[in-house]
Each structure stands twice: as C-alpha cells, then as structure tokens.
C-alpha cells in the first residue's frame, strides 16, 4: 500500500506585546519576514488601518520582486462592539488607548499556502491549497 504524503502547516503565534513597541514599518517587516518563511501568523490584536494598507502595498512590491510569492491572505476576527453596553464600550475604549486593541485576532498567511479565508462575523474558514 502506497504511503500518503502528508504536508505540514506551521502556525506562528505573535502575542501583541511582541509588536506593541514596534513602529509601523517594523511591524510590517516582522510579519512579512515570517510569511516569507511560509508560516501562517496568528497575531493577538490587530493592525491599524493604515498599517493594513501598508502591508498590502509592501506585499504588492514583493510580488513583483520575489519569485513564487503571490501575496497574502488576511482576516481579522474581533468582538462585536454593538453588543457591548455603554460602560463596556468605555472600558474597552480606555483599554484600547492604553494597551492597543487586543480583543481581536489577525490571521495572515502566504497566498501560496492559504487559498482563501471565508469570514462571517463569528466564524473563519481557512481554505488551504
């Protein structure tokens, strides 16, 4: 009986504290370095909107310059603000200002490994190649 070849997938967890003190450029650089290593990142927290666009811009530059690199798949899951009471919103807002938005999880993977990420508000399906 022929043995089935199994392929591994590496998940790289980054706690928010690891990127909290980095500048936006350093954050993106760190994330892209791990992605180029063919690992899927699970990041505690989320990037700022301008960092997300910066990530897309840098990814586009890399597609043209790094052989075999096709880009990234990205998804963010976070708590639903609408269900929070005013008190909770204030509490979480203050925590966000002091410690960054940590009530979210960002998943970023290389498009050569992650085919698609299908997100619904509370569910995320990661389709692999």
């Amino acid at each position: 009986m022929a043995k089935k070849k199994t392929k591994g997938l590496t998940l790289h967890f980054i706690p928010f504290i690891e990127i909290a003190r980095l500048s936006s450029v350093e954050r993106i650089k760190k994330l892209l370095k791990i992605i180029l290593d063919n690992k899927v990142i699970i990041l505690q927290g989320k990037l700022r909107p301008e960092e997300e666009t910066r990530l897309i811009e840098d990814t586009m530059v890399m597609i043209g310059n790094i052989k075999g690199f096709k880009g990234v798949e990205l998804a963010v899951i976070s708590g639903n603000d609408q269900q929070k009471s005013i008190f909770d919103k204030l509490r979480f807002g203050l925590a966000k200002v002091l410690a960054g938005q940590q009530d979210a999880i960002t998943i970023i993977g290389p498009a050569s490994i992650v085919k698609e990420m299908k997100k619904d508000p509370k569910k995320l399906e990661v389709m692999l190649r």
Binding site: E52, V61, Q82
Partner: protein, 213 residues
C-alpha cells in the same frame, strides 16, 4: 492701478479656492470585479454621454487610476460638480496563473499581474486625495472580506465620508441584507450598475454624501 492688480489677484485666489471646493473628488473603491468602473461609466454616461474606462469579466481590468473632471450631476433641481476617480480593485494577492485560467497567454498574464500590483499601490496612494468615497461591493460575494473592511477602516481614519454600494442586485445570489449587516454604521444602497437599476436612490445618496464633505 495697484488696487486693480490687488483686486484681480484676490479674485483669482478666492476664485480658485471656491472652484476647487465646488468640484468634489469622488472616488470609487472596492475589490476587483465589484463593478467600480461599471458604476463610474453609468454615471458618466448619464451626465456626460461618455465612458470613463473599459470593463471586463477578467479581474483587474482597471490597472491605473482614471478620472473624469467636471461631471455635473443634477438631482431635484440641485446641481453638483464632481471629479469622478475610478481606482483599480484592491486585493491582497495577485497570481498571474489565475489570469491564464481565463485564457490569457503566459506573457500577457504576467504583464497584467505586474500592472495590477502597481495599480493597487496607486489606488492606496490616491486615498488622501478623495473628498468622498463610494465603496463598491459585489452583493453576490461575502461582504466580510478583509479588503472591504480595510478600505472602510482607512476612510474612517482619514475622516472621508463613505457610501457603501451593494452592486449586482440584478443577480439572484445578491444579498443586500448581508452587506447591510457587515456595515451597520453606513447607508447601503443596492443597485445594478450594469442595468441602471435603482440609480435614483443612488443619486439621492450621493447628494447626501456630498453634504458631509
């Protein structure tokens, strides 16, 4: 003589500022193949009789920013002047092999992919030049895609007024309620840019959006 020169100078300066304020830079953003160019074309056809760009079923047909200036739109006896700015679809990945599956030859596909990556960078860089933005979403696709959220998040961070359009409502699979659920803080207008469905409501919302500029 000096007074006349000063008068002309101030008239030119204030005139230029006033003129600039009168023309609203209205951007069309969204993922590839959502119908941004179809909508921009529909508006241009309605008010100028001309197209802004080519449309295609193959994604990333628009690979550089294209615009049409001095487009006057009339609604309920009011007229506003817009500069319509159609941008390339924003994506997080580009694979030339995907274009080959759509019957493009390898060299053509690679060229298209390269241009598409440059177009995405250009679209992002144009964000700061917008007075207001229409985010076009394909109502038959999942609205929770991170690209949509990233675009809206960036517009909010830049304090640029946003109108969300759920396009392709002529198709059975279209689900406007899902788009509304994904963007509860925004007005969502369902249209079919291809067939010109619900354009009256669209223009009404564009005028409401212009008030926020």
């Amino acid at each position: 003589m000096v007074i006349k020169i000063l008068k002309n100078f101030t008239k030119r300066i204030f005139g230029a500022i006033f003129k600039r304020r009168k023309e609203i830079s209205l951007g069309f953003y969204g993922p590839p193949n959502a119908g941004k160019t179809s909508l921009a074309n529909r508006i241009c056809k309605d008010w100028t009789g001309e197209d802004i760009g080519k449309v295609s079923k193959v994604p990333h047909e628009t690979r550089s920013v294209q615009f049409k200036e001095e487009v006057e739109i009339k609604y309920k006896e009011k007229t506003l002047k817009f500069k319509l700015i159609d941008t390339p679809g924003i994506a997080t990945k580009i694979d030339y092999e995907d274009f080959m599956k759509m019957k493009l030859k390898k060299k053509q596909a690679q060229k298209r992919a390269k241009e598409a990556t440059q177009g995405i960078i250009e679209a992002i860089q144009w964000l700061d030049d917008m007075d207001a933005v229409i985010v076009v979403i394909d109502a038959t696709e999942n609205p929770y895609s991170q690209v949509n959220i990233t675009i809206v998040g960036n517009l909010v961070a830049r304090k640029i007024p946003v109108l969300v359009i759920a396009n392709k409502v002529d198709l059975k699979r279209a689900d406007i309620k899902k788009v509304e659920a994904a963007f509860p803080e925004y007005e969502v207008v369902g249209i079919s840019a291809k067939y010109g469905k619900n354009m009256d409501e669209f223009y009404e919302s564009v005028f409401k959006l212009a008030k926020k500029v």
